[in-house]
């Protein structure tokens, strides 16, 4: 292309430039590079020079590409089968690209011509290959790279489409190779690169199937039955439980921008990727060119990816989870982004005042409407009072009203309420907290105010005095109303 331009005369060159100026001035829809064109062969351009790809172990990624031309990139990736930790005290024989799970991160540029060397370490037991989803061609390279232990395979491809792509082993039985950790990410940066950010990290989810249940110690072999049933014992980020927690947490400082390159190796589960306490400002949907904004949780299919970008505004521990949440709580799908730096109370205050929640009058009124007609006769009041007592009071004061010494004060034969119905009414309608003495014993706890109507308060107290003290006390709804604050 370049050459043909250089032999053009000046006035031919001038015409397209002129047209572009006119179009730009129209204010109509402009042709975007990312529009939905089909076929990206125009990305195959002249190749200048040659370089060796710098590969990184997770959670790190190679530095952004700064060159503005396509080059020949040599990628050297070694397959290593090795025993590593899957969780504390639990080991597993992982099959890896580059000695880590996920495998080494590869970063190239749209239009680059890649010479890919796949080396199967001689100590390995099995043949392997690689299918890079970034590759256009048979098997994504799987057929071309099928290689026995102790041998090396080489193939070439041009990265036609930009995006964040999964690579994985595709040797039979393919599920087992993936289940054992054979996946990673290759980023094909768009021409012009990605916007500059302060921190970039590499996170990849995977599910694991072991003979032993979660946490059962020792070397755990792959369990085919569980894999076929898609019932993993482990769902983890970056190859083992705790790979991104404690000292290995991802780090950032308040005010910095962060980009996460996130993949999902599977083999079975799709991920509901979520970062607790953050909203993703940008999500490159499925690792492609379309962008979504202000996202809480993004789906990552097995064999798929996403790129998320956000600014960490305040310090704290932000937790990466698969929001299919039992996986986070019980199977290990949990990581931490630890943010230090200055607080910003305007963005997030933290916990201000601990306190007791006293429901509002509106809530009490809502409650009333759901109740039936009030009790009228003494018998009705005692019957209704029993039900109210059992539901609202018995959990603490117990069914016999004797309470728990020094914890929950007694109602039966209680010098605190005996002959002092107003005290009883006050406790019910307003709640009670702080130190009190009942029958010589100190109590210091909290009784929330009860959402009862005036009539219900009359009923429950009538029941309490009648049943626990054998006294028939006359309490009126007027008395209750008066006590309400």
């Amino acid at each position: 292309m370049k050459r043909s331009f250089s032999i053009c005369t000046h006035f031919i060159n001038f015409i397209p430039l002129f047209l572009i100026l006119i179009l730009a001035g129209c204010g109509g829809p402009q042709l975007k590079k990312d529009s939905a064109e089909i076929g990206r062969l125009h990305n195959v351009t002249d190749i200048k020079g040659e370089e060796i790809a710098q590969l990184t172990d997770p959670p790190f990624v190679p530095p952004p590409i700064t060159r503005n031309y396509s080059t020949k990139v040599i990628v050297d990736l070694e397959i290593i089968e090795l025993e590593m930790e899957l969780a504390d005290g639990v080991t597993y024989v992982f099959w890896t690209f580059g000695g880590t799970v996920p495998g080494s991160f590869i970063r190239i540029r749209e239009g680059d011509y890649v010479e890919f060397h796949l080396k199967n370490h001689p100590d390995n037991k099995l043949p392997h290959n690689i299918d890079l989803h970034a590759v256009t061609g048979q098997g994504g390279g799987a057929e071309a790279t099928y290689v026995a232990p102790g041998y090396e395979a080489v193939f070439n491809f041009t990265a036609i489409n930009p995006g964040l792509f999964v690579y994985h082993c595709a040797t039979a039985p393919v599920g087992m190779h993936i289940a054992n950790g054979m996946y990673g990410l290759i980023l094909v940066e768009p021409k012009g690169g990605l916007p500059k950010v302060d921190k970039e990290y590499y996170v990849m989810q995977g599910d694991f199937y072991t003979d032993g249940e979660y946490g059962e110690s020792g070397l755990q072999p792959f369990n085919m039955g569980k894999a076929i049933k898609e019932q993993p014992d482990y769902v983890v980020f970056n190859g083992h439980v705790g790979a991104l927690t404690g000292e290995r947490s991802l780090k950032a400082t308040a005010g910095e921008t962060v980009r996460l390159f996130v993949g999902n190796g599977g083999p079975n589960l799709a991920s509901s990727f979520h970062l607790i306490g953050e909203v993703f400002d940008n999500v490159y949907i499925e690792g492609g060119s379309a962008m979504n904004h202000d996202i809480q949780t993004t789906m990552i299919p097995a064999g798929g990816s996403t790129i998320t970008e956000f600014k960490v505004e305040v310090p704290g521990k932000f937790i990466l989870v698969d929001h299919s949440i039992f996986r986070a709580f019980n199977k290990g799908a949990l990581g931490i982004l630890e943010v230090d730096g200055e607080e910003n109370k305007r963005v997030y205050s933290g916990k201000s005042e601990p306190g007791i929640y006293q429901p509002s009058a509106e809530a009490v009124n809502l409650y009333k409407k759901k109740r039936g007609l009030p009790a009228v006769t003494r018998e009705e009041r005692i019957a209704a009072g029993k039900t109210l007592y059992d539901v609202n009071c018995a959990a603490c004061h117990l069914y016999d009203g004797k309470g728990v010494t020094a914890v929950f004060p007694p109602l039966a034969k209680s010098d605190y309420i005996d002959g002092k119905p107003d005290k009883a009414i006050g406790a019910v309608v307003n709640g009670l907290s702080g130190e009190i003495t009942v029958n010589g014993v100190k109590y210091n706890s909290v009784m929330p105010k009860q959402a009862l109507t005036d009539s219900e308060v009359v009923s429950v107290l009538t029941y309490i005095y009648h049943t626990f003290d054998g006294k028939e006390v006359n309490i009126t709804e007027e008395q209750v109303k008066k006590m309400r604050k």
Binding site: E81, A148, A172, P221, M224
Partner: protein, 265 residues
């Protein structure tokens, strides 16, 4: 049903008789009676008829191979022709004849297909076909079809996919199967005569549609038993090989169709 059981009984009886008879006549080879087995890539229950043969009870050891090299100096560590083997042939040996004595009874590895086949030829034998080898390997500890022996199957998957023990243990250190043959699983991979006849494209998910009945991985559409993962691993390994390849964990054993007296071991 009754007649089926009766037939099984007779077969077992004959088998036991042959077993006893061959115990005497062939110290180091095991007679495998003609019979049917279900190859991995057989579609639905297409059992295959396998003629009778004798198979080495153990993989060939370093010591046995060293005797062969003595008689056939062309196959020495430093003499072997590059046409017949990649670099790394017998690389665990010190020179043409000596190796760490602890490996004497361990299976010989770092052997190309040409070398393995030549060794067998010189014994009046040959490498087993993949069908023959797989038929013997399909046996469990208690029956000729081990697919129903769950514990055994789980053990096979475990040893097939776990790391290679180092140094490689002696032959006869794993399990003896129903036929009386040792180490079909968990010691080393083994060459077969037609190892690449089941050549997969290396693209395990695409082979189902390639017109080949022999290999299919991910979809397993043509596999007789899609849960036989160890067999998938073995077929995948064989398919990745060329006849000149030498691997640190790839050995062999021989078979013959007639009785062979080797007088060794």
């Amino acid at each position: 049903m009754k007649s089926f059981l009766w037939t099984v009984g007779v077969v077992v009886f004959i088998n036991l008789q042959l077993h006893a008879q061959n115990e005497v006549e062939h110290n180091n080879m095991q007679f495998i009676a003609a019979g049917k087995y279900l190859p991995l890539y057989s579609g639905n229950n297409n059992y295959k008829e396998i003629k009778a043969f004798y198979i080495d009870r153990y993989p060939v050891t370093n010591y046995e191979y060293s005797l062969f090299v003595r008689e056939n100096p062309d196959w020495g560590k430093n003499q072997v022709k590059r046409l017949f083997s990649d670099k790394g042939y017998l690389k665990h040996w010190d020179d043409n004849h000596s190796f760490d004595n602890r490996l004497k009874d361990s299976p010989v590895v770092n052997i190309s297909w040409f070398a393995a086949q030549k060794y067998c030829e010189c014994q009046g034998k040959r490498l087993p076909t993949t069908d023959e080898w797989e038929r013997v390997a399909a046996a469990g500890l208690k029956s000729a079809d081990g697919s129903k022996e769950r514990d055994f199957q789980q053990w096979v998957l475990k040893v097939t996919s776990s790391a290679q023990p180092k140094p490689i243990p002696a032959v006869g250190s794993t399990k003896q199967n129903f036929f009386g043959v040792w180490d079909m699983h968990g010691l080393v991979w083994e060459w077969t005569y037609d190892f690449n006849s089941s050549l997969s494209s290396g693209e395990s998910r695409g082979d189902a549609g390639s017109g080949s009945n022999l290999f299919c991985g991910g979809g397993g559409a043509q596999a007789g038993d899609v849960e036989n993962y160890p067999a998938f691993l073995r077929y995948a390994l064989r398919s990745s090989l060329k006849a000149t390849h030498v691997l640190q964990n790839l050995g062999f054993r021989c078979v013959s169709e007639v009785k062979v007296q080797t007088g060794r071991k």
